[in-house]
């Protein structure tokens, strides 16, 4: 059977919307693609699958025994309480390797999905970068770009587009020779050597 299962995918969505709730400060985890990112990790990485599959079952079992409903059916307060117990290592059940470590892995993956380059399927519409004030990838930075309280505005750019922009800038500066080099630069969609990289939801970065 494909992994994650529809039940697990629904559970992952409920988890990321608890870790990153939609509120006045911006979209929630699922709108930002964090669940898509984590589902990709579970699907593509065997070691992570071995951790997530039993731990997600354990999480739902713990929600049911402690709060009387499956995790996704609880309200935000109830879900928050369940995740806090797991984070603190107080939850019981078949978490791999243990509740607190599973939560740490989940938390790491949430950060990756929320704040990682959109190439990996999360950080949709740069939701994470906007929240934290990250100004996007810019490969050629001037002194003004690095000034305190005085940096010029710039559009948010992911890594692939940033590379294209930078190569174009170099080509403009130094003409034909560099333009030829830029044409040969390869910008892979994802690393073929990676067991865990998720292909982008869309090949273009907004």
């Amino acid at each position: 059977m494909s992994s994650p299962t529809p039940d697990h995918a629904r559970l992952i969505t409920a988890i990321v919307d608890t870790l990153v709730p939609a509120d006045d400060n911006g979209p929630g985890g699922s709108e930002a693609g964090v669940d898509a990112y984590i589902s990709g990790v579970v699907r593509d990485n065997e070691a992570m699958r071995g951790i997530y599959e039993p731990s997600l079952d354990a999480l739902d079992a713990y929600a049911t025994s402690s709060a009387g409903a499956k995790f996704a059916d609880l309200d935000l307060e109830g879900r928050t309480k369940v995740l806090k117990a797991i984070e603190a290592g107080e939850a019981e059940g078949g978490f791999i390797p243990d509740p607190a470590t599973f939560f740490a892995i989940l938390h790491h993956n949430m950060l990756e999905g929320f704040f990682g380059d959109p190439q990996y399927g999360g950080n949709v519409d740069f939701a994470g970068w906007k929240l934290v004030g990250y100004r996007g990838v810019k490969l050629i930075q001037t002194a003004a770009d690095q000034a305190v309280n005085a940096a010029p505005d710039r559009p948010l750019t992911g890594r692939r587009e940033a590379l294209e922009v930078a190569l174009a800038e170099l080509a403009k500066e130094s003409g034909e020779a560099v333009a030829a080099k830029s044409a040969s630069a390869k910008i892979p969609v994802t690393s073929s050597s990676s067991a865990s990289a998720r292909p982008p939801a869309s090949p273009s970065v907004r």
């Binding site: 608890t18 870790l19 990153v20 709730p21 509120d23 400060n25 911006g26 928050t80 995740l83 470590t101 740490a104 938390h107 790491h108 949430m110 950060l111 990756e112 929320f114 704040f115 990682g116 380059d117 190439q119 990996y120 994470g128 970068w129 929240l131 934290v132 004030g133 990250y134 100004r135 990838v137 810019k138 490969l139 050629i140 930075q141 002194a143 770009d145 690095q146 000034a147 305190v148 309280n149 005085a150 940096a151 890594r159 940033a162 590379l163 930078a166 630069a185 390869k186 910008i187 892979p188 690393s191 050597s193 990676s194 865990s196 990289a197």
Partner: protein, 543 residues
């Protein structure tokens, strides 16, 4: 060595950098997953335990090394500092100034078998080969304004001027001056200007764990290896994994066995140089045990792998409320650095530790790590966390401390009795823990870091709960340390194994002390010196 006419075969477990942009500006691919290390290093992450009584377990850590011609320097932050003269005489100087009781109990710290003056010409050679950027603070004994006044005498100015400072680094530099400290722009193995036909830095902010999109880092795959290959005397063989060093009855090496595409080959040699970083160097030497070296090469006195020491890598953070610090670009080498708290540049009386750390006000904060840096009183997820990041994400400044650990005999790298790599070969096991002197150094030095951030305007400062990572580290010293006395070291003053004199060892694993500063320049200067010694002594070595 190729210049001297020697024929050199280089066996590289990885391939060559193929010029694509796969590892450029990719925090997930590099910092999180280390995809550049997929072929080998990620498959052999050492296990970790605190003491000889414990069972080692896999650490929750990513291997910070890669396999490629030119080595892990390709994904290094490339901060390029020399050690101070004091670090070469750390034991003697400590005893002379503070008395023998000041050495932390049970530690095994030793002086180097030679002093700074011996290594100085090689520091200069490496700086000129790669195009290191910086500003001298001590030229032939004369203190030069703008540089680091604590450094040892340099015979030459840096070949390139320092990298541009960022606004944050300038701000921190002014605060350090106000505190009476001595800030300078850090030295970098990154070119501030074009040099010998190679590109300069464009300050993208993805040096650490990533590839340089412009090839602006000083790496041997761009400087040194091409010239050696052009000479016709260097044969680089790729995807070739060395599995053991072979020896003869008198203990000397006869060559190495390596595996390429599943087939085993023997490469005969008059001399063998092990240059696979601390972990793999020790593993190879242990795996090469045979009837001539029953405990492994260089282990006849149970010294191999011992006297391990690391850096306690600590980030001290400060909140500069309402300020846009603009720290998420630029290289970590665009620093304001102070050495007032490194080496013996301050009075250690009553402090309970020796050495210290360089302190660098850095940038290069990438977005995932930026989201991790909230102080302890802020939740790590949920709406309150989001609100903190929204309010303060642009206003957090960082200092990096690399606090010097000192060696203990019990701190060691050896082979794990059960854990194996996918080829069935034992992987390393690390035995180390924090000691009383680590805690004291952490408390004292992080306090100095907080003071510096506050002086620059931070309203709140915080430090991580951990005293520094003990598992796999790129700043990993000792384990095959140099020394005159075979009872307390693995290699001699020429970096050749005491009981196998045609086997030389390179890397930070040869260093008896670490200093509170980055290892690469010193490791490279040592490598150059080791090569010259091999050439000088060739008849004896190859005999």
């Amino acid at each position: 060595m190729t210049q001297a006419g020697l024929k050199v075969v280089a066996l590289e477990a990885g391939g060559r950098h193929d010029g694509d942009s796969r590892y450029v500006a990719d925090e997930i691919g590099n910092d999180v997953r280390n995809e550049w290390g997929m072929s080998k290093t990620n498959l052999e992450v050492p296990t970790l335990r605190g003491s000889e009584d414990d069972t080692a377990a896999p650490p929750f850590a990513r291997m910070p090394m890669i396999n490629v011609v030119g080595g892990s320097a390709l994904h290094s932050t490339s901060v390029y500092y020399r050690l101070f003269p004091w670090h070469f005489r750390e034991r003697t100087e400590t005893i002379e100034r503070y008395g023998k009781d000041h050495l932390p109990e049970g530690s095994s710290v030793q002086d180097w078998p030679f002093g700074y003056d011996e290594l100085e010409p090689f520091y200069t050679k490496v700086e000129e080969l790669l195009g290191v950027s910086g500003k001298a603070g001590n030229l032939n004994g004369e203190i030069v304004p703008g540089g680091n006044p604590f450094e040892g005498p340099r015979s030459k100015e840096y070949p390139l001027p320092p990298l541009r400072q960022t606004g944050f680094a300038e701000m921190m530099g002014r605060a350090a001056t106000d505190l009476g400290l001595h800030p300078y722009t850090g030295a970098a193995g990154i070119r501030s200007q074009p040099y010998k036909g190679l590109n300069e830095c464009t300050y993208c902010g993805f040096c650490s764990f990533g590839d340089c999109w412009r090839g602006a880092k000083g790496v041997t795959s761009l400087s040194g290896i091409p010239e050696a290959e052009a000479s016709g005397n260097l044969d680089v063989r790729l995807q070739s994994r060395v599995v053991s060093v072979e020896t003869r009855a008198d203990g000397r090496a006869t060559g190495v066995t390596y595996v390429r595409e599943g087939k085993e080959y023997f490469q005969p040699a008059s001399a063998v140089i092990l240059s696979t970083f601390t972990y793999e160097n020790v593993r190879l030497m242990m795996l090469s045990k045979n009837e001539h070296h029953p405990g492994g090469i260089g282990n006849s006195r149970d010294q191999l792998g011992r006297n391990l020491h690391l850096h306690n890598l600590v980030i001290v953070r400060g909140l500069f409320e309402g300020q846009e610090l603009n720290n998420n670009g630029g290289t970590a080498a665009q620093t304001s650095t102070i050495d007032d708290w490194d080496g013996d540049n301050f009075d250690h009386s009553g402090l309970g530790f020796i050495g210290g750390t360089s302190m660098t006000a850095v940038v290069e904060t990438k977005p995932i790590s930026l989201a991790r840096v909230v102080p302890g009183h802020v939740p790590r997820w949920g709406s309150e966390w989001k609100s903190y990041l929204k309010e303060n994400g642009r206003s957090i400044g960082e200092l990096i401390l690399q606090i010097e650990q000192i060696p203990y005999t019990e701190h060691r790298v050896d082979l794990d009795p059960t854990a194996k790599d996918p080829y069935g070969m034992p992987i390393n096991r690390t035995t180390t823990r924090h000691r009383e002197s680590d805690y004291k150094a952490f408390d004292f030095l992080t306090e100095k870091g907080r003071d510096w951030l506050k002086a620059a305007g931070a309203s709140e400062t915080w430090v991580p709960e951990m005293y520094g990572m003990l598992s796999v580290q790129p700043h990993c010293y000792g384990a095959t340390r140099m020394g005159e006395d075979p009872a307390e070291s693995v290699i001699d003053a020429s970096a050749r194994v005491h009981d196998a004199p045609n086997i030389a060892v390179l890397g930070s694993c040869t260093m008896p002390t670490a200093g509170g500063r980055n290892p690469t320049l010193t490791a490279q200067a040592l490598a150059w010196r080791t090569a010259e010694k091999l050439v000088e002594d060739w008849d004896e070595v190859a005999g």
